[in-house]
């Protein structure tokens, strides 16, 4: 030990090998959170993500579209041009909107925005369906998105007019 700078083996702050190992207060963590553990977690994550796609396929295979009922929506006299009315179709959990456009057409769609499900409403000045959440615009004549975040069209509700009453009779989820 001729070098002055080098501390003796058992002195404080020595750099000598295999000394002061107990100073590593994190040694439990070092055993738990190391490269090997990281890789194992990564593999677990990858497999879990892969498996997480299965329920969607299963649900898709089970969920067969049932027959639609004929449900009264509104009287035509209560729905002047430029007005709209909300209803639920085909089930109580599916909000929908019936629009009497300024051009005199009757259009109905499920009103949950295809972006993040906010309800869309009819904007008669611009003759569009507008989602207020993130400014998503849908063409009122086709239900297809024209601007903003939505990528898919709104499901179309098939309607029938009988004796001045508008009925919902079916639904096309993807259309046009």
């Amino acid at each position: 030990m001729t070098c002055k700078k080098k501390l003796g083996r058992n002195q404080k702050d020595t750099n000598a090998d295999m000394i002061n190992l107990v100073d590593n207060v994190n040694r439990d963590d070092d055993l738990k959170y190391n490269r090997r553990a990281f890789l194992k977690t990564a593999v677990g994550t990858s497999v879990a993500l892969g498996v997480a796609t299965i329920p969607f396929s299963v649900k898709a295979m089970l969920g067969v579209e049932k027959d639609y009922e004929r449900v009264e929506i509104a009287k035509l006299t209560d729905l002047p041009e430029g007005d709209s009315v909300v209803f639920n179709y085909p089930t109580e959990k599916d909000p929908a909107i019936l629009v009497h456009t300024v051009n005199g057409d009757l259009k109905a769609y499920n009103s949950a925005c295809t972006h993040l499900m906010c309800p869309v409403f009819y904007e008669k000045e611009q003759d569009v369906l507008l989602c207020p959440c993130h400014a998503g615009y849908f063409d009122v004549n086709s239900g297809h998105p024209t601007a903003g975040p939505p990528q898919r069209e709104l499901p179309l509700i098939e309607i029938e007019v009988d004796n001045g009453i508008v009925y919902a009779v079916g639904r096309q989820y993807r259309h046009g």
């Binding site: 593999v43 990858s46 892969g50």
Partner: protein, 65 residues
């Protein structure tokens, strides 16, 4: 197959599976059921590859010198 390759494969499968899960959800909501199945298969295959790469890595990593 070396350890580095295994690492790369496993990280790549995570990336693939994250994207596939996102697309699967999207396809499910849009009722594109055929395409959903495709994503599902890709995702499972990639999970299988991750598992295989892991076993390979384990063999090399824990080999007795």
């Amino acid at each position: 197959m070396g350890k580095k390759t295994c690492w790369a494969i496993i990280i790549a499968t995570i990336v693939i599976n994250v994207v596939m899960l996102q697309w699967t959800v999207e396809a499910f909501l849009g009722r594109d059921y055929e395409i959903l199945l495709t994503y599902n298969v890709i995702s499972l295959v990639s999970a299988g590859i991750a598992l295989f790469a892991y076993l390979q890595w384990r063999k090399v990593e824990y080999k007795k010198q």
